[in-house]
């Protein structure tokens, strides 16, 4: 529960902002100078209340010995609400102040601003009850009110433009436009308040568009009740630009269709989500049960959302770092068998280029934004020349252009240890996060796997041994496959692929020393490839120590 004092102060603030809105409306209608004084002095009071509430929020969070996540969310929401209430208060002052620039007060009365004040007042009065009782419907109504305000703003905007085109009362009309602009921004603050209320109810930061996408997606999948009954937890960040969350019925409630009792909801860039959908369908044809089942797909103009099966089990990362040794062996065997089977089943004899170097180039900007010095200049040490990163990449790119894998397979595309799930009950390996799956050089998956082991930020000897053991197994398995398939440039392509994976992995690693290890390894590999260019590529030998830390 929010402390009584905090609740009381927030209630005061809502009341004061509501009064501020009333007085601003009154002032805009009547232009009474005394009213403007009142608005100005109340603004100071609102500012003070905001400071008091802010302080209380931070002290409550800091002092409480035990505080539940739920309570934490409510305090966070309270803080966001008070910040946005204060903004509405500020916009009131700004809107009222514009009236002084109006020569003809009557001009403003041709436009319908009162509606906006009515909407704001109506929704502000339910903020405290929603925060207390967690009424999802009303929280959503507050969010949606912003859209209503936007529509009114647009109507009036168009009307102002029309009048402006007549070329009369230009100054006054611009002032009116400014007033409406402040009112429209009040709507934005109201939306922030609504989203803060959603956070306090759902325990998740969620934007209204994402919420609507989730609502529609779930409804397509058999959900027949209020979303308040659904547990919604973010399980991954948004590294790939998609929001990924786990959706679960509260205690297995019967209203959810059985298959959606536990699912993963992804929302984000339409192209990415659509590609993932198509890939899931493709994987399902090739290898049923290897990837999550697709429950539903929704798309709007820019974004799309997916609801897919939540695969029970642990990630390979968790098993490598925490599993017992017997289990480690079982999982390793199963993983190799699964990968080999995929490669064999999907192998197509058309040669395919992997383009590892362009992949580095495309991510260079992100690498340098995290590590600005991970870019070597050309240097001379006596008569030895050190090639600059750009030149090194350009030369290796040329080499790579002449190389192709002799065949393609359908790859995972982001084959890191977090995207491989082991289901101990069913003793099977499954894959998740498949939006990068495509026909490609199998070495791409192997190198990503190896780099994802390498970049684990764990440094205890026994854990590094486990990671190295897994890496060695994967490399050996792939190497044997290459020999069987007569893939003669395996080691060379692997060097380029690892150079790519090490280099681009640095953008996720803030520990400079550790990231530097990967940066140096990447350059070493590229230099090795270049130094070999006058000899037959088949004789290139990958320095095996490069894969282990």
């Amino acid at each position: 529960m929010l402390t009584a004092a905090l609740k009381e102060n927030l209630s005061f603030m809502v009341v004061e902002v509501a009064r501020q809105l009333d007085d601003t409306l009154d002032f805009l209608q009547n232009g009474d100078a005394a009213a403007f004084q009142q608005i100005n002095s109340r603004d100071d009071y609102i500012d003070n209340l905001k400071t008091v509430i802010e302080n209380r929020c931070f002290t409550t969070l800091g002092e409480a010995k035990t505080i539940s996540q739920r309570e934490r969310d409510r305090i966070q929401a309270t803080h966001t609400i008070c910040v946005n209430l204060e903004r509405i208060g500020d916009f009131c002052v700004s809107a009222a102040d514009q009236l002084h620039y109006l020569n003809k007060h009557a001009i403003l009365q041709h436009f319908d601003y009162q509606q906006i004040f009515d909407i704001l007042a109506e929704h502000l009065q339910v903020v405290i009850p929603v925060l207390e009782k967690g009424d999802m419907g009303q929280a959503l109504a507050i969010c949606r009110a912003e859209n209503q305000i936007d529509v009114i703003y647009k109507e009036n905007f168009d009307k102002i433009m029309e009048e402006l085109r007549r070329g009369k009362e230009i100054e006054n009309l611009i002032t009116v436009l400014f007033i409406f602009r402040y009112l429209e921004r009040m709507g934005d603050s109201l939306l922030n308040i609504g989203e803060a209320l959603l956070l306090s109810i759902l325990g998740e930061k969620i934007k209204i568009e994402q919420f609507q996408a989730l609502e529609e997606t779930l409804s397509k999948s058999g959900l027949r009740t209020s979303l308040a009954e659904v547990e919604f937890s973010s399980i991954l960040g948004s590294r790939s630009g998609c929001r990924i969350s786990k959706v679960q019925g509260n205690g297995g409630l019967p209203f959810l269709a059985p298959q959606t009792q536990s699912s993963i909801f992804k929302e984000g860039n339409r192209e990415k989500i659509l590609t993932e959908k198509k890939n899931l369908e493709r994987w399902n044809e090739i290898f049923p049960d290897l990837t999550p089942r697709l429950f539903s797909y929704q798309e709007s103009e820019e974004t799309a959302s997916l609801l897919v099966e939540f695969l029970p089990g642990r990630t390979l990362e968790a098993i490598i770092l925490k599993g017992d040794p017997d289990e480690l062996h079982t999982v390793c065997m199963l993983l190799h068998a699964t990968v080999l089977e995929i490669w064999t089943r999907t192998k197509k004899t058309t040669p395919i280029k992997a383009n590892f170097i362009p992949q580095i180039m495309a991510r260079m900007h992100s690498v340098l934004s995290v590590h600005p010095d991970f870019h070597r200049a050309s240097q001379d040490i006596g008569s030895s020349e050190v090639m600059a990163t750009d030149e090194l990449l350009a030369k290796c790119r040329k080499i790579e252009e002449e190389l192709a894998a002799p065949f393609s397979v359908f790859i995972h595309g982001d084959f890191n240890v977090n995207n491989i799930i082991y289901n101990a009950e069913r003793e099977r390996i499954q894959f998740i996060d498949l939006y990068r799956s495509r026909e490609a050089d199998y070495i791409q998956d192997v190198s990503v796997f190896i780099a994802s082991n390498f970049r684990q930020p764990v440094f205890q000897e026994h854990l590094r041994e486990r990671l190295n053991w897994f890496t060695k197994g994967m490399y050996q398995m792939a190497k044997n496959f290459a020999v069987e398939q007569g893939d003669e440039t395996f080691e060379l392509r692997m060097a380029l692929a690892l150079a790519r994976s090490f280099y681009t992995s640095t953008r996720f690693e803030l520990n400079n020393d550790f990231a530097n290890e990967m940066f140096l390894r990447s350059h070493f590999l590229l230099e090795k490839v270049l130094a070999h260019q006058d000899k037959p590529w088949q004789t290139f030998s990958l320095p095996s120590g490069i894969m282990y830390y």
């Binding site: 040490i381 006596g382 050190v386 140096l520 070493f524």
Partner: protein, 90 residues
């Protein structure tokens, strides 16, 4: 006093390390070590006498071997004692 710096760090195998070391010993033999970074040149003239130190450390499986050369370009002033002798005549 201007400070010039050159910095290079890399991962190498025994063969390429040998190449770098040979290139440095060649430079010492020729009397000057030239270091360039992005076109900016730093020339170090080799002296008759230079301090040469080797330090090695082995700790928890980590090996470190540092080879250091240091010398000064500022030569001590050696004045002719006779000409600097003060003489007072009356």
């Amino acid at each position: 006093m201007s400070t010039k710096k050159f910095d290079y760090e890399s991962l190498q195998d025994a063969d390429s390390i040998k190449t770098y070391l040979v290139s440095l010993t060649d430079s010492i033999e020729k009397g000057r070590i030239i270091l360039k970074s992005n076109g900016e040149k730093m020339v170090m003239r080799v002296d008759d006498l230079m301090k040469f130190s080797v330090q090695a450390k082995k700790k928890d499986g980590i090996n470190k071997l540092s080879i250091k050369l240091s010398w000064s370009e500022i030569k001590p002033v050696i004045k002719d004692q006779r000409s600097s002798t003060m003489s007072i005549e009356s």
